[in-house]
């Protein structure tokens, strides 16, 4: 009967979106994606040197998950390949940039909004370690991960918001540039902003701060948010378009 139906009707229709076998669905978080269930923390996702438990073509993330290599490897210094600024529907691309870019310059935007698709990974643009992770969903920034890194002898933090829950490496772990540090979600206020139409672009809000104190407390030992564009490889011109020679 099934064969007859196929012969008469042609190929089967695509599976429904909630079909767990649907290859386009992001894998479940916290392990279990693809054929593997655990990965060694700190595994280089691009080397298959025998100690990885993720299948070839998959990359490790979080505390033991594997995800299909949906995004090609970004060049060193970028958190995603060919980063693009997320647009605000009212004011365009500048609304996704750091600074007094909202409400006709009257409202400060503390970070850089870079686009990514839901379920796709974010990569560390720097060597460093995981400084903080969300223990619960921030109502504004959503699920987040914070990296601590050094540049010219000065410590900074780089924070990625609107991620999926539990998609980051263990808190305190050492990471290298190119390691997966989280998976894009719509957590926090991003869900509401997209539904209301403030923006159509799924993105991570990226905040960079310089260590100014003697301790390591984010609130007390780090300064005001800096422009994250200084800390990624791709540069953007005045219109928010990537400068060709830096885009990779």
């Amino acid at each position: 009967m099934y064969r007859l139906w196929r012969r008469r009707r042609g190929p089967l229709p695509p599976p429904p979106p909630d079909d767990p076998e649907d290859p386009w669905l992001p894998p479940p978080l916290g392990g279990g994606g693809g054929v593997c269930t655990t990965c060694e923390p700190g595994d280089d996702p691009y080397e298959n040197d025998g100690d990885e438990l993720c299948a070839l073509g998959e990359i490790a993330y979080g505390n033991g998950g594997c995800i299909g290599e949906a995004e090609p490897e970004p060049c060193e210094g970028n958190p995603v390949k060919n980063p693009r600024i997320a647009e605000q529907n009212n004011i365009g691309i500048n609304g996704g940039r750091w600074g007094d870019t909202r409400s006709e310059g009257e409202q400060f935007h503390s970070g850089l909004d870079l686009k990514n698709d839901v379920g796709n990974p974010w990569f560390s643009p720097v060597d460093g370690n995981i400084d903080a992770v969300a223990v619960s969903e921030s109502r504004d920034l959503g699920y987040y991960v914070t990296i601590r890194f050094q540049k010219n002898g000065v410590y900074y933090t780089m924070q990625f918001g609107h991620l999926q829950n539990d998609s980051w490496p263990p808190n305190g772990s050492t990471i290298s540039a190119g390691d997966v540090i989280g998976i894009q979600g719509v957590s926090g206020n991003l869900d509401r902003a997209i539904r209301q139409g403030a923006t159509n672009d799924v993105h991570s809000h990226i905040i960079v701060r310089k260590r100014t104190g003697t301790g390591w407390n984010t609130k007390h030992d780090y300064g005001d948010p800096l422009n994250p564009e200084q800390f990624i490889k791709t540069k953007f011109d005045a219109n928010g378009s990537p400068v060709a020679e830096t885009d990779c």
């Binding site: 605000q88 529907n89 009212n90 004011i91 609304g95 909202r102 409400s103 409202q107 400060f108 503390s110 903080a132 969300a134 223990v135 619960s136 921030s138 109502r139 504004d140 920034l141 987040y144 914070t146 924070q159 918001g161 609107h162 719509v186 926090g188 206020n189 991003l190 869900d191 509401r192 902003a193 997209i194 539904r195 209301q196 139409g197 403030a198 923006t199 809000h205 407390n217 984010t218 609130k219 007390h220 005001d224």
Partner: protein, 203 residues
């Protein structure tokens, strides 16, 4: 008393079966017609309402009250514990996540959230019917049905539905040109009733 013969019993059973079949056939036929009608009635807002934000004047938008207070009044507290309590009384708890400069005041099932770096309100989440908002002087609370909202704001009330982002549909009020914050009133697609009211700062 006359006892029916075996043949008569068989005939009666056959006749009963025919009657039963007809009865079930009529019920099934009615079901075929009535099911789509009841389904479409339940999903009426999703199929019939215009889409988008409900734009009101900016003065009306700024006059929206959240359990009795405007956004300006709430912002004026700068997230100070005593000042927040002066608006809504003693909170159930207050939590702070220093990693994201966020302070959350919990009032039972409702939350009022401030960014402590800017001392600005970022979120109000209302999830029970004890807290009420007023838009254009009309009350909205959790549990209101979509038809009640239509009675208050007009039958052409616009809705937002983006199931790839969130399974609920929503009614949004905003003022023209405002890109800084918003108000979303979430309704369940199953009950067509308000399940959450949220003020949010555009992230």
């Amino acid at each position: 008393m006359e006892v029916p013969s075996q043949k008569q019993t068989a005939n009666l059973t056959k006749s009963d079966k025919m009657k039963d079949f007809k009865r079930y056939f009529v019920i099934a036929l009615a079901g075929l017609f009535l099911f789509p009608i009841s389904t479409s009635a339940q999903t009426l807002p999703l199929t019939s309402q215009p889409r988008g934000n409900n734009i009101i004047s900016c003065s009306a938008y700024e006059a929206i009250t959240y359990n009795g207070h405007t956004i300006d009044q709430i912002n004026a507290t700068e997230g100070n514990n005593n000042s927040v309590q002066s608006l809504w009384g003693t909170y159930s708890s207050v939590d702070e996540d220093e990693n994201v400069w966020e302070k959350v005041f919990i009032y039972f099932n409702n939350a009022v959230v401030f960014n402590t770096e800017r001392s600005r309100l970022t979120v109000i989440e209302i999830k029970d019917n004890q807290w009420v908002i007023k838009v254009l002087g009309k009350e909205i609370r959790v549990g209101n049905s979509f038809s009640e909202l239509q009675q208050k704001f007009g039958s052409d009330l616009k809705i937002i539905y983006k199931p790839d982002i969130n399974p609920n549909y929503a009614v949004s009020f905003n003022c023209s040109g405002n890109d800084f914050n918003g108000l979303l009133i979430d309704l369940s697609t199953e009950t067509n009733k308000v399940v959450e009211i949220a003020y949010f700062k555009n992230p």
